[in-house]
């Protein structure tokens, strides 16, 4: 089955962000969404280590290790940005001030439960959680961005998460490398499918029932969505 590349998936998410609002891009793949925001976007990016309005990545050699994001990657501050302490940063999250958080996940359930901090199988290695739970509970809208299946081909969108939960009933939309799925009160709705992939094929690798949207949209290999 064809799948979107990581960059194209990031681009697809970026194209779905509103023109303005306060957005937190999770560590890892979600963070790449920032690279695909239009230059004239009014979106302001937040990072939980105490910065609002993150600018483009710094040029090579101009990194400052006191100016990093939650993934500990060097960043820049855009015009109109601000620094603050962790208490205020997490107040922004827990207090519902962030419009959207885009998170990676191991599993999402049909009810919108998210499991993204541990698989529970650590082989004795210490677990880490960071700001994952605070973000999943706090932001007004939670989008997940992940591969549709595990490396072994098993489903990540499931009826009930088997991995330890990050938060219950918070995810509203799932962007994967083959589809866009909305979490609605009446179940999962298949909003868009990658070109060359059928809804039936998506359903076959999904662990919960998908209802195709009335007008199913098409994702092309660049991550653009039409229809």
């Amino acid at each position: 089955m064809k799948t979107l590349g990581r960059s194209e998936l990031a681009r697809m998410v970026a194209l779905h962000l509103p023109r303005q609002g306060f957005v937190n891009l999770g560590i890892g793949a979600p963070n790449e969404v920032g690279d695909y925001l239009p230059a004239d976007t009014d979106v302001m990016l937040h990072s939980e280590n105490g910065i609002l309005n993150i600018g483009p990545r710094p040029p090579k050699g101009e990194e400052d290790w006191d100016l990093i994001n939650a993934g500990k990657i060097p960043i820049t501050l855009a015009k109109g940005g601000a620094f603050f302490d962790s208490n205020l940063s997490f107040a922004m999250m827990r207090g519902g001030h962030l419009d959207i958080a885009v998170l990676g996940a191991f599993q999402v359930s049909e009810k919108g439960d998210i499991a993204n901090w541990t698989t529970g199988e650590s082989n004795g290695a210490p677990p880490g959680v960071g700001g994952a739970v605070d973000l999943a509970v706090g932001a007004r809208t939670i989008w997940v961005m992940m591969d549709h299946t595990t490396k072994e081909g098993g489903p990540r969108i499931v009826r009930a998460c088997t991995f330890p939960l990050t938060a219950a009933r918070v995810v509203s939309r799932i962007f994967t490398n083959i589809a866009i799925v909305d979490v609605t009160p009446s179940g999962l709705v298949l909003d868009a499918v990658l070109e060359g992939v059928t809804p039936a094929e998506v359903q076959a690798v999904t662990g919960a029932e998908l209802t195709p949207a009335r007008s199913l949209r098409r994702i092309d290999m660049t991550g653009s969505v039409a229809g």
């Binding site: 309005n53 015009k79 109109g80 601000a82 620094f83 107040a91 519902g96």
Partner: protein
């Protein structure tokens, strides 16, 4: 780029409705958004629940709202010396919820920070524990204090940039930053508006995520 500048105080109070809960910054006159108060009076709204440290004096301050009979209830720490409020309070026309000042501002912070409440030692063994749940934690007894939130917050800043970052002036900062986090709509009256990027990002006290409208006092 985001731009939250509105033309004047009238535009700043748009959407304020009868029955709303309203936080107003300030300690005495320091931090009090006076142009905003005049504009609120013009709206003619009624039955407001006011959350502000004081209840005015004998001058043009929160007194304006009481004179115009817009307030049904006030939550505050120190309403002494407030002539219009006192007259209405004596007649039973306005309700008072008196809160120790540190508890007052911590409840507002809790409202803005998404907390369900906090355990405070302040008021134990006094009238201020009346009607409140007591919780023992770490072997000590505390009062459970609940968050405060509002429909609108109106505060006074010193400078705002066009995206909505705000600084304050000396002790006029007081309750304003916490109140700015705890309302559906936060409006900041400032002395002057500057371009985005003109404020030192290390010295911004209220980041723009909390601010919906700013306007410059005429």
């Amino acid at each position: 780029m985001r731009n939250v500048v509105v033309k004047d105080a009238t535009a700043a109070v748009a959407g304020l409705k009868d029955g709303h809960t309203v936080m107003i910054g300030g300690f005495g006159n320091a931090g009090l958004p006076l142009a905003t108060l005049r504009a609120i009076v013009e709206t003619g709204v009624r039955d407001l629940t006011l959350i502000s440290n004081n209840a005015g004096t004998v001058e043009d301050d929160l007194t304006l709202l009481f004179r115009a009979r817009m307030v049904r209830k006030i939550i505050c720490s120190y309403p002494r010396g407030a002539k219009a409020f006192t007259d209405q309070y004596r007649k039973g026309e306005v309700e008072l919820e008196l809160v120790p000042q540190g508890t007052f501002i911590e409840r507002i912070r809790a409202g803005g920070a998404g907390l369900g409440g906090f355990l405070s030692p302040v008021g134990l063994g006094t009238d201020f524990e009346t009607g409140k749940e007591k919780i023992t934690a770490g072997g000590r007894e505390y009062i459970l204090e609940l968050p405060l939130r509002a429909d609108f917050t109106f505060v006074k800043g010193k400078l705002a940039d066009t995206v909505g970052n705000v600084t304050y002036n000396m002790t006029a900062r007081n309750h304003c930053p916490a109140m700015a986090t705890a309302a559906e709509t936060t409006v900041v009256e400032v002395d002057r508006i500057v371009e985005a990027g003109a404020l030192d990002p290390e010295s911004i006290v209220t980041p723009c995520i909390f601010v919906d409208r700013v306007f410059a006092r005429a």
